[in-house]
Amino acid sequence: MTQPFPFSAIVGQDEMKRALILTAIDPRIGGVLVFGDRGTGKSTAVRALAALLPPIEAVENCVYNSSDVKTARGLWDAPKDAKLVSRPTPVIDLPLGATEDRVVGALDIERALTKGEKAFEPGLLARAHRGYLYIDEVNLLEDHLVDLLLDAAASGENVVEREGLSIRHPARFVLVGSGNPEEGELRPQLLDRFGLSVDVSSPADVATRVEVVKRRDAYENDTAAFLKRWRAADTKLRKAILAARDRLAEVATPDETLEDCAALCLALGSDGVRGELVLVRAARALAAHEGAETVTRAHVRTVAPSALRHRLRRDPLDEAGSGARVARAVEEVLG
């Protein structure tokens, strides 16, 4: 397995990086949707984030990374001599053509046939618990898989009822999707599930491009040296994320901020209150990240485009950048 590219070494793409860091600070923000051209570092950033995040404590042999020995589950029974081990934060890839069995888990046919035993073969949702589920080309995902993901993401639980199996296990994960909007639309129901959404594009100036290629080339020529060079920056970021997590509960959210968020969502006519919730959470996570004690209007302003861009009640054929509409509303409402 090759070492992922260091997160700190990614050139530019600040909005994408910020969105990923915010969900690492507060997973309740929901997922991140990254839309943009090929080769803009979408997958690189997601994989880099996984390497950056602190390891999680999980029960050894537990199929869904449980942190509690009492609720851990082995392939079928509770694992024997359960003990906690440290594991890297899971980042699970969901390939486009994955079967339902691979996603939710199914009867382990191998064991059923060879040993005559009934055993559960965990799926990707189990493995992604407490981590990230990454879908590249998410807009091309088949509808029935989208339904499964929506169910699991909404309930935080995966329910398997098939082939004589009846199993439920928690499945709370941050959904990260990337894709190219030119290739097809994303279903609105799924769009709404993503907490934050960012648009990325190829850097326009030559200096940045040269830097992108230079770093990538250095990374591929001598991975170890490159990682070493960036380790300090990554460690600093990891500590900042951990510190922000600790601080998160203490960050005060004044009523004015809530009113700002509500007014903003009202002005944009976004459906439901998920927009407000995400906006408040993201602003709070940003405040924690910056070491502020209270959420301020500036925090809301910074995260508003990512939090609201994909929630506008829009004409599906409207091609005007919704980011611009959000920016305008921010200007009008927050001054």
Binding site: L140, V206, L317
Partner: protein
């Protein structure tokens, strides 16, 4: 540089053999020919068809061997770190492309050679972006009796790269309109490999020129400006100072290698980008939908074993088998022929083919209204997850504005800029519509046709303005379309309902709806009922 037409091919293959993993591979567009065979032989790679399934790719349980041996027998997958050749790459489904791309990123597939038959649709962009060389063998032919040798044996080594090389290649890529940073990386690697190939210890201008010609030129999206002091405006403001000599030389090298049909290719690339989920939505019919009776078979990836049916099939044989093998301790003795697979019947996706009359007669009266109506229908299509295709006809012949896609923004964009005026090549529109409907059906979609016209066709298939011939052809083609049995709807866009359009609807055995009386919502609901699959 020599004038040997095989030089680029020869060089690319040599460079690839020097740094196979760094360069990612090769996209070879060619029809069957002795030359193609010679290249394939020289590459000598394991071949893989686009129908390869997950089990073959990643390895898996060999069910038959497992049952026979009573212990799990695993099969090795294709993605085990060896280079592969993907044949008929133009038929790669998006899911496979996604998996191979992920494997290339992860290093389990270091080198991939894409073999493309050179048909209209090329290999998926996710894969072509990840291989350094794009080569076409069009126009190259082996002289009779010549056995070319494309094999190469150069030992990889270390080379120095001057720091300016990277910048020069980046600027060159920007001037050719190449966005993906991967291209520049590949060019850099190719330059290094070229230096090794030439036995140099440092990358020189020659190496970079060869890299620009081999890697950057085939990816060019714009033809670089001739003048040094007039770079494309979008780059002008960002460029640090004037272009310096090296990248000017590289642009020159790339320009020399630019394919002559660049404009066509650019159009093709755009069309391909718009294709999107069309192929992705193909239904395999074995995962969801109405259950059908199970069938015997060996489960491979994508199939689901019907456990109950399998046990039911095995049950009658238990006593016999137990007697035959008394030592077997398995509680149930299942043999390969007992295995039953689940099957489901699924409705395929719908495709609405819109054929919009943009001729002079319509343009004057109601092109804007027709556009509005189509937009409304597109919104309805979006809600129902339908695919749409857009055909416009005016002047000499009909034109496919948008091949079947779900990217509705594209449809709207194309429609908005559609000009009006000229004759009415109705016959040509019907011919193109028929082709589209037919192709869609073969891909497993349920197509339907919405024809928006006043029915006054006056341009024949050959582009001539022979009204009689045009009418005869229209009638013939309308019958042909009707014979396919796809639902059709004619929306009459004339200011007053015309007998022509109504007649056309009859010939198509479809519905007729005059636009004057059709308000927006009524139109949408009529389409829904008229074209229900």
């Amino acid at each position: 540089m020599t004038t040997d037409p095989f030089t680029p091919l020869r060089t690319a293959l040599a460079l690839l053999s020097i740094d196979p993993a760094g360069l990612g591979g090769l996209w070879l567009r060619a029809r069957h020919s002795p030359l193609r065979s010679a290249v394939i032989d020289a590459l000598a790679l394991r071949r893989m068809p686009p129908t390869v399934d997950d089990e073959q790719l990643f390895g898996g349980l060999d069910v038959a061997a497992t049952l026979a041996g009573s212990k799990p027998v695993r099969r090795q997958g294709l993605l085990d770190g060896t280079p592969l050749m993907l044949t008929m790459a133009e038929r790669t489904p998006p899911a496979l492309a996604g998996r191979l791309a992920a494997a290339m990123d992860a290093g389990t597939l270091p080198t991939l050679v894409l073999l493309d038959e050179g048909e209209e649709d090329g290999a998926p962009a996710a894969l072509t972006d990840r291989v350094a060389f794009h080569l076409s063998l069009d126009g190259l032919r082996l002289p009779p009796g010549v056995e070319p040798d494309f094999s190469s044996s150069v030992t990889p080594g270390e080379v120095e790269t001057p720091p300016a090389a990277l910048e020069a290649l980046t600027i060159t890529a920007a001037r050719l309109g190449i966005d993906s940073p991967r291209a520049v990386l590949f060019a850099l690697r190719a330059a290094r490999a070229h230096a090794i190939h030439a036995g140099r210890a440092t990358v020189t201008d020659d190496d970079m020129a060869a890299a620009a010609a081999l890697v950057l030129a085939p990816r060019a999206m714009i033809v670089p400006d001739e003048q040094v002091d007039a770079p494309p405006p979008e780059q002008a403001e960002n460029r640090p100072g004037e272009a310096t000599a090296p990248e000017e030389m590289l642009v020159e090298a790339a320009r020399a290698a630019l394919p002559p049909d660049l404009a066509e290719r650019m159009a093709l690339a755009r069309r391909r980008a718009a294709k999107g989920s069309g192929a992705g939505a193909r239904r395999h019919g074995n995962r969801r939908g109405r259950p059908l009776a199970p069938r015997p078979g060996t489960p491979r990836s994508g199939d689901r074993l019907d456990l109950i049916a399998t046990l039911r099939a095995a049950a009658p044989w238990q006593r016999l088998r137990r007697t035959a093998s008394p030592d077997d301790t398995r509680p149930v003795l299942i043999a390969r022929e007992d295995l039953r697979l689940k099957r489901f019947e699924d409705r395929s996706d719908r495709l609405l083919v819109f054929a919009v009359d943009a001729s002079g007669s319509t343009a004057l009266a109601r092109l804007a209204e027709a556009k509005g109506a189509v937009e409304l229908l597109l919104a309805a299509a979006y809600a129902k997850r339908d695919h749409v295709a857009l055909i416009a006809f005016r002047g000499k012949e009909a034109e496919m504005l948008l091949p079947p896609t779900r990217a509705l923004v594209q449809a709207k964009r194309r429609l908005a800029v559609l000009p009006g005026g000229g004759g009415t090549p109705l016959a040509s529109a019907l011919a193109l519509a028929h082709e589209t409907l037919d192709a869609a059906e073969r891909r497993g979609l349920s197509p339907g046709l919405v024809l928006m016209t006043d029915g006054k066709g006056n341009v024949a298939l050959d582009g001539g303005t022979d009204r009689a011939a045009a009418t005869a052809e229209t009638e013939r083609l309308a019958r042909t379309v009707a014979a396919t049995g796809h639902p059709a709807l004619v929306v009459d866009t004339a200011s007053r309902p015309q007998p022509g359009a109504r007649q056309l609807a009859q010939l198509l055995e479809g519905e007729y709806l005059p636009l004057p009386r059709a308000d927006a919502t009524r139109l949408a609901s009529t389409i829904t009922t008229a074209l229900a699959p």
